[in-house]
Point group: C2
Chain length 210, copies 2
């Protein structure tokens, strides 16, 4: 009893060890390039345990993928649903939070988008985000801003695409960006920090009505 508690608290359970290792490997190399043996080694467990706990590589992947999708879209959902902040505050908070999040999970976007390409993946449809979007406080405020004349009329999708693009792209294209700019790691991070303030400014400017 006591031994088990200690194991669960101090040391992650075997199941957790496997999931963590799987997340790391899948995010870094994708489903097809990841061997179950890689995961087992990374987790420091016997290969058979992977199948003992998760039945198959696919099943394990599905779990990781679902969680990844959720955390990837969670920030967007937060933007959409956050009630109590003004428009400008909302944007600033969103950009800053998302960039902070991507600093910790830099492999996540490319992983999600890559795997979404190959898989028909009913996962997206399950999340049915149109509902989420259209009924959101975000859309309401977005339209208000336009009506108040504070923003030029734009299709909300353009706005979303541009915003997410500017946040995510540097992380997706990091090897190329770092090469072109000849950036050391800390210089890249510095640039991302700047973008927390810059992106909201750019957004404000680019949709300014004439």
């Amino acid at each position: 009893m006591k031994a088990k508690k200690i194991k669960q608290e101090v040391d992650p359970s075997t199941e957790e060890k496997i999931k963590n290792a799987a997340r790391i490997m899948f995010h870094k190399k994708g489903f097809a390039a990841t061997r179950t043996r890689d995961i087992a080694e990374e987790a420091g467990i016997n290969l058979a345990l992977l199948n003992y706990y998760f039945r198959s590589k696919e099943k394990l992947f599905d779990i990781i993928m679902l969680e990844s999708m959720q955390s990837f879209l969670q920030s967007v959902a937060m933007l959409l649903n956050n009630q109590d902040s003004t428009w400008d505050e909302k944007i600033e908070l969103f950009v800053s939070n998302y960039i902070d999040f991507l600093m910790k999970e830099p492999d996540l976007p490319l992983f999600v988008l890559s795997e979404l390409r190959s898989n028909p993946s009913s996962l997206i449809s399950k999340m049915n985000m149109k509902q989420l979007l259209m009924k959101s406080n975000f859309i309401k405020q977005f339209k208000e801003e336009i009506k108040k004349g504070k923003m030029a009329p734009v299709h909300p999708l353009h706005f979303l695409m541009n915003t997410v693009a500017m946040i995510i792209f540097p992380f997706i294209g990091r090897p190329i960006v770092s090469n072109i700019g000849d950036l050391k790691d800390h210089e890249f991070i510095e640039l991302m920090q700047q973008r927390k303030k810059l992106i909201p400014q750019w957004i404000k400017m680019m949709y300014k009505p004439k």
Copy 2:
């Protein structure tokens, strides 16, 4: 002699058939998820011919990857080097050309970026793009615009990242974008057409000096 010529002109050579099939499959599913048998089938040739012409899956991949990187960066290089157009024209031309290009090769960006993640890939460094960037006419004009007070002072990398991000992201995130916006294929294309005109406008706005 005549037979060979006809074969080369009317029907692509076996080597070309393999390369074309490989390009399609690699772009769609990536290196690890693509079987040599998939390529052979797509090309309509015997599996052994793949190794006969290209020695190995890796060698074939390297060839495709190099060509893909080149065409992926070619548009950027064009932006950087184009001599005879004004700043505004340059931007408009670049955005429009790149979007047109991506309509024909929608899988290219995600492929290049994905494979670049796993591979240490000296490919990028071989292209040594810092030289290309710093000595380019683009940088010269960019600095002039800022000096003339037509543009707020920004790090050129931010400018590049934002521009490329807005162009490429919709194609990389197409499944999610299409789901959120509940878009049919033709509606997605319509949005991309709009962006040819919108992105240059946004760019002009967002860097306007106060």
